[in-house]
């Protein structure tokens, strides 16, 4: 084999760079825009697109029945994300637009707007400079499936679609108490959302069309149409129940809008599992390694293997093990570095558990250049840990391991001879857990984008949570 036929080894800096700077997403977005607009001069178009740098602006559609709180949520999202709010009313009121004037005249006569004009208005508005720069939030548009399809064929696709949902009776009752502030346009409610300042209270007016009968009619129409719109947005839809306090709905909507969708970028998972003794790290690591072909690096295992192989490291470690003292950090880091710089780790990715245990070790891991790109903290309450570990037993004759609750021994005679490992005693476990919690605060601060998983569930549920944490892009922090 010579240089041309030997397999290519891509230096690991390249995929790492691609991941850190989101190169794949950048190129994918550029290609999307090229295909939508198909400009005659692609190079100038690409230069303009890159300069604009608007890959991450919000593009949200909010749909929902009347009185679900759509407009309130849309306004709050707008303020929070510093984006543009677009409603049917705002489109009709636009100045300097021939289409808008036409639409207004039509509306005055027939009380509705034809689909093509509305879509044309939307297209005009979304192609304006401020929408391109800061993104947009559409409130209540599209109202019909035809509109949704037309908007899509024009190449204007939302990134997130939120549908608010609540039982009809709740909505009808809610709508009766609706009040609008004519100055700011904000919506208040006589029971749920009464403004504190008396000047606002005095100028609130009752909007038209909020009686029970009218709301019921509007709801009928809404249900007829929404059922056909929902299939147009299969992967980006999220339904939020609006039968809860406003702030909860808003928080859910905000977290959703700030989370990315699963993307095809090449990604080598480098997972770190942290958690106290008995939280299930080893089990989850094995499951992950099995399913995704990652290299399972267990710190304790590595040290034991080094000792068994009687390597140079093994001889250094042996005295510490014999005296039951913790192995010093620099030896551990050397053993780890040795393992992690091997080709299969770099190529396939790894799952690390059992290290780092405190802030210094975390910093050392970082300085070695092996920073994990997903960190999970498995949180399990002490009682569950005790239950999981103190009931472990081993059969000295067959060597099989049992658990008095989850995997009981088959016969009484087996049970009679079971022994418990001294490491599973209550005092030892409590000691180790205390040690972990003393350091975990620092670790959580250091790995600020870590995901905290509830480890107190059956292993496959926990595994699914961890999987979704790895596969989906890391959510941006909600401020």
């Amino acid at each position: 084999m010579d240089a041309t036929t030997a397999p290519h080894h891509i230096p690991p800096e390249m995929p790492q760079y691609g991941e850190d700077y989101h190169i794949f997403e950048m190129m994918q977005n550029m290609l999307e825009q090229l295909l939508i607009h198909q400009p005659e001069d692609p190079i100038s178009f690409m230069i303009t697109h890159l300069r604009r740098n608007n890959d991450n602006v919000p593009k949200v559609v909010i749909l929902g029945p009347p009185a679900s709180g759509k407009t309130t949520i849309a306004m709050w999202l707008c303020k929070h994300l510093n984006s543009n709010l677009i409603t049917k009313e705002s489109l009709l009121e636009r100045e300097f637009s021939r289409l808008s004037l036409e639409a207004k005249n039509y509306y005055q006569v027939y009380k509705k707007i034809p689909n093509s004009i509305l879509v044309g208005l939307v297209q005009e508005r979304l192609n304006e400079d401020d929408c391109l720069r800061k993104g947009w939030i559409l409130d209540g548009i599209p109202e019909r499936r035809e509109q949704a399809l037309m908007i899509q064929t024009l190449g204007l696709a939302p990134k997130h679609v939120i549908v608010l949902n609540a039982p009809d009776t709740v909505l009808i009752e809610r709508n009766v108490g609706k009040r609008i502030d004519p100055v700011t346009g904000e919506i208040y409610h006589t029971t749920f959302d009464w403004p504190p300042e008396p000047e606002i209270q005095n100028r609130l007016i009752q909007p038209e069309g909020i009686s029970e009968i009218e709301t019921a009619k509007k709801l009928l129409e809404y249900h007829r149409h929404i059922i056909r719109i929902l299939p147009s947005y299969p992967k980006i839809l999220k339904t939020i129940s609006s039968d809860q306090p406003c702030v909860d709905v808003f928080y859910q909507a905000l977290t959703y809008v700030q989370s990315g969708h699963r993307c095809n970028a090449p990604f080598t998972p480098k997972v770190l599992l942290c958690g106290p003794l008995g939280s299930g790290k080893k089990l989850q690591a094995t499951l992950l390694a099995q399913k995704y072909g990652l290299v399972n690096i267990s710190c304790g295992q590595l040290l034991k293997e080094a000792m068994a192989a009687k390597s140079s490291f093994g001889e250094l470690i042996q005295p510490f093990f014999e005296k039951r003292m913790t192995v010093p950090d620099n030896i551990i880091t050397k053993v780890l570095a040795d393992r992690m710089e091997q080709q299969d780790c770099i190529q396939k990715g790894w799952v690390l558990h059992g290290f780092p245990r405190d802030l210094d070790q975390a910093r050392m891991l970082n300085s070695m250049g092996y920073n994990p790109n997903r960190v999970f903290f498995l949180s399990v309450p002490l009682d569950s840990i005790l239950e999981r570990l103190t009931l472990r037993r081993t059969d000295p004759v067959t060597g099989e391991r049992f658990h008095l609750m989850y995997k009981p021994p088959p016969t009484i005679e087996v049970q009679a001879r079971l022994l418990q490992n001294p490491k599973d005693s209550e005092e030892y476990i409590k000691l180790q857990t205390d040690l972990f919690y003393r350091n975990s605060g620092d670790l959580e601060q250091y790995y600020d984008r870590a995901i905290i998983v509830n480890g107190d569930q059956d292993p496959y549920t926990v595994f699914e949570y961890i999987e979704s944490g790895i596969i989906n892009p890391l959510p941006r922090k909600v401020t």
Partner: protein, 132 residues
């Protein structure tokens, strides 16, 4: 509304006409090799150089300059004879992305010297970049 298959075909033709996929592939290669701290600015600068070069027919931003071609040749020519076999030549062109996997190259029986190799690489690079 035009049928969907029509628009898909239109999009495919557009991509082929302007060689978009090859251009993006080359840009990504440049980017991963150089690894600048500001990838957008870097790609913008590459595209501007390309735009200027197209207008003035001068100095395309080549990925591999002369010294790289020489080193690559020397890597393949392990015996130091000054020429490489046809199979090696074809593999090298494939690795550089300069010829399609099933393109039939003329094996005229002569061994490939450094000059032939260099000329062929340059010629193909120029052809590729002029199409963008």
């Amino acid at each position: 509304m035009e049928p969907v298959a029509d628009r898909e075909l239109q999009a495919k033709l557009y991509l082929e006409k302007h060689q978009i996929m090859e251009l993006l592939s080359q840009l990504t290669s440049f980017l991963l090799f150089a690894r600048p701290k500001k990838p957008r600015e870097y790609v913008i600068s590459l595209l501007e150089r390309l735009r200027v070069a197209k207008a003035t027919h001068v100095a395309f931003p080549y990925f591999m300059d002369n010294s790289n071609i020489v080193s690559m040749f020397e890597m393949m020519d392990t015996a130091g004879r000054g020429c490489i076999s046809f199979v090696q030549y074809k593999e090298a062109l494939k690795n550089l992305g300069l010829c399609a996997a099933d393109e039939v190259l003329n094996d005229d029986g002569h061994v490939i010297t450094l000059d032939t190799f260099r000329d062929e690489v340059n010629k193909r690079m120029e052809k590729m970049w002029s199409m963008f």
